[in-house]
Symmetry: C2
């Protein structure tokens, strides 16, 4: 016990030193969780430092990411690197960032936007438990702050975890009572949290988070949990615990100690032996959890995105002129791809009969996760799955993916590889009205660094593009359509990411109409009208929005007489196709005419709404005529 106290003091010491050297950071938030983390790492956490991707490892997700120095200190004391390295905290060339990111190799997922860790942890617990007997499931530990328990996403995750009986998920709520700017909603009334977790179907263990015996008992119980429920250890703690002038004091959030204060603090901690170590328990060897097919062995997870065998052409094909909605194609083709790539998993938010992910559910019930109407958690779970080597395909209405923008943003910081699929894009959905129309989605996904954004117009191109996505890195987005559209392409055509298709061209072309999705079909109708008036235009199907086909766009500019590009999109006017085309042609002295949705739409029939938005064939004809 004495030694455990000494180790906790060592954790505190280096949490304080590292932030003081950095000149910024959140030492008091580390101190409240120091005792809990010490017991966990000293006696329970099972992890092979040499093989962090080992699937039998436990996982440790620090949801309260501002306590990053605690995370780093724990691994340092575990022998991952020398304590002195902690002094590089927050420096531009250090792996020890202000909030955990994958630069630090033991980070399971980037955190720091609060309330997201539990979803990631739940996704991991789900994946690690699959097909394993109760005593073989690695545990996933998630340390949360009390401030972040106000985030709704936490309660989405709480529902998810109890619904799927994730008894290997152990959440630790560090109730230190103080938020950033004032006391939290419930201060130290830990019953408020216990009652919430219990109501959400969790086992709850209440403890004094600074009583090492109580902590140890809690972990002993939690790690033996066979209740069929996830476990929440609700710990009453003090922010700044262990240092008299910090303990429970408001006004110290996010403030490192100045030198003089640091000296005082270290004096209070007393002599601490820097050579103390956590000896992490090694995971048992043995068959790993269900393993993506493409993983070389059964024991090691495939690491970030091992790359799947790509299907050049899925075994689904469509007849020219056939009427089928691209959302339907999504379901058919994903089910097909699933046969060839075990890593593919599908997630949906109670819209599977609209997005057609239900076709995947039918084919692979074990690899489909119904996430109910909780899009934030769905995205977080996908991060957890991705970090364990799975390839999540996450679908709902395009509009409702806005709900998970923060999680998607953080998924990129986490370097996860996820495909999001948004159905019901644009005003073309018709009568359901503006709340259901995805009109911001291209902007949302394009802004994410390194993202891929695709919006095919027909079945063939949807099928072909989808086949690339299991191998795509980073955040990918496939935008599908609600209404049926004609099949435009034969099954022998190829659709590389970053490409486009010239659908109509002649030597007499005056200008180019660039479209995607539903507006491709409007552009083709416009073409027929224009050509009767002997007005020739080039029609480009810009199915790949990011990366975009710069070359063909530049070519089109040069090869048409008026050197004008007209973009037409069923998306709001900023951040969509028009801007992506403009950006591609930024240095080309181009003339681009943007046609897009400029106002909140309304209920009505598809064709009425396309007309109202000024993006139908007739509007295109009018615009073209005004330009020549």
């Amino acid at each position: 016990m004495k030694q455990l106290q000494q180790k906790a003091a060592l954790v505190r010491k280096w949490s304080l030193i590292s932030t003081s050297v950095a000149g910024s950071g959140h030492p008091t938030s580390c101190l409240s969780a120091a005792d809990i983390a010490t017991v966990l790492f000293d006696s329970y956490y099972t992890f092979d430092l040499k093989n962090p991707h080992e699937l039998n490892n436990d996982r440790f997700v620090l949801s309260k990411g501002h306590a990053a120095p605690l995370l780093y200190t724990l691994y340092a004391i575990s022998g991952a690197f020398p304590l002195e390295h902690l002094k590089t905290l927050r420096k531009i060339d250090s792996d020890l960032e202000g909030h955990p990111t994958p630069h630090f190799k033991y980070t399971e997922a980037a955190t720091g936007s609060l309330g997201q860790g539990l979803s990631v942890a739940a996704g991991m617990a789900f994946a690690l438990a699959q097909g394993k007997s109760a005593n073989k499931k690695p545990n996933v530990y998630c340390v949360m702050g009390d401030g972040e328990l106000a985030e709704g996403s936490v309660w989405e995750a709480a529902n998810f975890a109890s619904h799927y009986k994730l008894e290997n998920l152990i959440a630790i709520a560090d109730i230190n009572g103080l938020g950033q700017s004032q006391a939290t909603m419930f201060n130290h009334h830990i019953k408020e949290y216990s009652n919430r977790f219990k109501a959400f179907g969790w086992e709850v263990i209440e403890i004094d988070g600074h009583n090492l015996i109580q902590i140890d008992n809690a972990f002993a119980k939690a790690t033996k949990n066979k209740s069929g429920k996830p476990v929440a250890i609700v710990a009453k703690t003090e922010k700044g615990k262990g240092i008299s002038f910090l303990e429970g004091k408001d006004g110290w959030h996010g403030k490192p100690l100045k030198n003089e204060d640091l000296e005082k603090a270290l004096k209070e901690l007393g002599e601490v032996d820097d050579s103390l170590k956590f000896t992490l328990k090694k995971p048992a060897a043995g068959p790993a959890a269900r393993q993506p097919q493409n993983s070389p062995t059964g024991l090691t997870r495939p690491g970030p995105h091992s790359g799947a065998p790509r299907l050049a052409s899925p075994a689904v094909s469509y007849k020219l002129g056939e009427q089928i909605a691209t959302r339907e194609v999504y379901g058919q083709v994903l089910a097909e791809l699933g046969k060839h790539d075990e890593a593919i998993m599908a997630l949906d938010g109670d819209t599977k009969n609209s997005t057609y992910s239900m076709d995947f559910l039918k084919a692979f019930p074990d690899r489909f996760i119904e996430c109910f109407i909780a899009e934030q958690n769905m995205a977080g779970v996908a991060v957890g799955l991705s970090k364990l080597g799975h390839k999540p395909f996450v679908s709902t209405f395009a509009a409702f993916l806005t709900r998970a923008f923060d999680q998607i943003r953080m998924a990129a910081v986490s370097q996860s590889h996820i495909t999001f699929v948004g159905s019901h894009s644009g005003v073309s959905i018709g009568e359901d009205g503006p709340s259901q129309m995805g009109l911001e989605d291209i902007a949302q996904f394009s802004v994410i660094p390194g993202s891929t954004v695709l919006h095919p117009s027909d079945a063939t191109s949807t099928a072909k593009l989808l086949a690339h996505l299991p191998g795509q890195k980073g955040i990918s987005y496939l935008r599908t359509l609600r209404p049926k559209t004609s099949v435009l392409y034969s099954s022998d055509e190829e659709f590389p990411i970053g490409g486009s298709k010239i659908l109509r061209e002649s030597k007499k072309d005056l200008l180019t109409i660039v479209a995607c999705g539903i507006t491709v079909h409007e552009a083709l109708k416009a073409y027929e009208i224009l050509v009767k008036d002997n007005i020739h235009v080039r029609i480009l199907d810009c199915y790949s929005l990011k990366p975009i086909d710069n070359k063909t766009l530049k070519d089109s500019l040069v090869k048409t007489k008026k050197k004008i590009i007209v973009t037409v999109e069923d998306h709001y006017e900023h951040g969509g196709l028009g801007d992506l085309v403009l950006s591609a042609l930024a240095k080309e002295n181009a003339h681009v005419e943007k046609m897009a949705v400029t106002q909140v739409s309304r209920s009505g029939e598809k064709d009425e709404l396309l007309k109202l938005a000024g993006i139908d064939a007739e509007s295109i004809v009018k615009r073209v005529k005004s330009l020549i």
Copy 2:
């Protein structure tokens, strides 16, 4: 009771007819709530149809917006319009949209993205209760579906409502057990919901949602509630209730009845008297709830956005060269504006000491709402406040406003007027790292139709722009900076929305550098370096991103020798300043060089990170030299 049953049948009849005539819609979702809504409108709902903005009215928020035909039918039976008008449901020229929007004048807020209504209702309940004795507070009723209770935002709102003791908030949970694609997580286990609401500090009344006596008793109790807690009526219901072949049947979500089925259904309902009416209770006259100053009378709410007295110049000024962060200016100036406009309210998500909204809290504690770390609910509460004539200013870190994107999108559909203020924008925040950097915010807010997006670089321009915002319509966004910057402008300069400032110009200018926020200062540094090499460039502070200053941008293109615009922004490369400039110059055959953040950033010092992102003075100099 017989008559009440008949009225419920009438509600069912027209919910069925209207959706069948429309050929789409969600009749079964209306039927499960029909009995509850009938009792509410027949006996409790207090509302002056002729004065829907009357502040003593109760409010009815239909969070499960897909039951819109129910909402419309209720008002028709209340005498707002003839029943026959219900047959225009979902038609392009009708006010009766697929999901409620303000086109229907009794819609309190647009719904249809699930799980948002309770936040709006809580905002309204908060505003209507202020300064009123317990028995004078109008009630706010919010009808929710069980599917949407999976959304975390609901539980954020639940926390908010109990924390602020909103005893005039009455939530009705319509637990019909069926979601869109399958049974909900808890099907008919209403205890699961009751326990959650109780744990979140609510009074709970469980009922059979089709037993008119139980319903009446519940409302009788709820409307007399003096518990200091909000009330949840948790009602066990059947989807499709009242029609034998729909009742409790899966597979009927969002499906209207075909003619034959409709006839069968109407036969089951029996003879129903179309002349039956709800006689709504009139609100008591008397002093209204706390009323925005600019409202002409004490009784009528000012209606959507009555326009505030604008302050040409707030009584805060800054010295040229003074170092001050624009986030600090936000706090100082908002507190000043608050003196002149009582309608201004400030909301924050436990970041008030970082966003500086705490200055407003100090000045007007009654008009500040601490929303804790729950950004979705914060945005929803702001919608509720706005719809009652208040002017909410909502602040947190720019990055965390991504959490509320769906709510912000819906706020625009609701035609609400809200200013969002995002601090800690860009990589210039430094050591905290990527999770805390707002780099998607300009894209997010620009895509919203009719939005205003401002990003000033110094104290004076921040103060001046802020003074316009209480009078601005729609969704406005002010982006502030974490680091201190030099005051560039004297207090007699004006900063109209849609304007820009030329900071450096000469007749020898080769090109124009367009910047905003922190990059204005980098551009000025670059200018000094370039001018020493006798390279003259024009520097434009594009503080208004949307609307953007087209005229000055076009002028700059014409008046510089190279006819090149270089944009520099501390934001990701898509959807930000560069794209907005490109869009403004789309028809001008312009050459635009975008400099922006292209990768996830990291921890480091501000200047290091600007350099790493390639948006510092040195990078600008290099780019300019490569262009001439």
